[in-house]
Amino acid sequence: MSEPTKELADDIFRRRVLRARTTPPGQKLMDGFKLYERACGLMRDGIRHQFPNADADEVEAILRKRLKRLRQIEEHGIYHDLSEEQTP
């Protein structure tokens, strides 16, 4: 398979933008929720593949742990701990 060209990438982006221009804002929010639920579903599939003996609660616990790790990476260096007494 050949590498995607800038022209192809721009064309895909253009189509997404044109579709978004005709989509109601609330629908875009609902789509965002669905995309996240789908992403979590795929992560659960991956966890079940790696840990075939895990029950549903264990799968959820591993999912939450992985999401927490991703959040920590994303927020590294941005947020700093503050005790409740220091709250402005």
């Binding site: 997404r16 221009r21 609330g26 929720f33 503050l82």
Partner: protein, 191 residues
């Protein structure tokens, strides 16, 4: 419970308590730009002297306040995280800071009516979404901020923006160069 139900319950609680708020982060970028996966709802609150616990007390017991409070140094904002353990979704509350642009975007916030959500949600203006994302982009170099700004400008089109307002705050924040780079990278889009 689903993420949209959790978000709706939080907004209901804020409205019952008459706490001025606005939805920021991925919510506001989706309103003006493209849909993207969202793992949390970010909400700026004008709490005055009110404790965050008054809000969590108004929520169902499934909502759990993380005792660890965080401080974000780019805009001097305090963040509180509320988890909904039954679903991998979080609500993040940000106290309105003393930062001049944070206050101005809160003052300019506007209500967007949504049939899909069955309610009105309050969000920053599109100019303020771009300005805040620019600050985050320059301060943190997170690729998703550049992507969000690109999407909002592309979907809205150049004519939708008050560029004088944006340029004024970019000069204050030192983000003009990043803005110009992003605008130059957007391919022409014809309806």
């Amino acid at each position: 419970m689903t993420p949209d139900e959790a978000t709706n319950q939080v907004i209901d609680a804020l409205e019952r308590l008459k706490i001025p708020y606005m939805l920021v982060g991925s919510f506001s970028t989706m309103i003006y730009g493209l849909s993207r996966s969202t793992k949390d709802a970010d909400i700026v609150l004008q709490l005055e002297g009110m404790s965050i616990r008054k809000i969590t007390a108004e929520l169902p017991s499934e909502f759990v306040l993380d005792p660890q409070i965080k401080f974000e140094s780019a805009t001097g904002t305090t963040r509180y995280v509320v988890e909904v353990p039954s679903i991998p979704f979080t609500i993040e509350f940000f106290r309105l800071s003393a930062d001049p642009h944070d206050n101005e975007r809160f003052r300019r916030r506007s209500a967007v009516s949504s049939e899909q959500l069955g309610r009105t949600v309050v969000v920053p203006t599109l100019e303020d979404v771009v300005l805040t994302k620019l600050r985050w982009s320059v301060a943190t170099e997170r690729p998703k901020d550049v992507e969000d700004i690109t999407n909002v400008i592309a979907v809205q089109g150049d004519d939708a923006f008050d560029w004088d307002y944006i340029h004024h705050w970019c000069a204050q924040h030192g983000t003009r160069e990043r803005l110009d780079e992003i605008r130059a990278s957007i391919p022409p889009i014809d309806d």
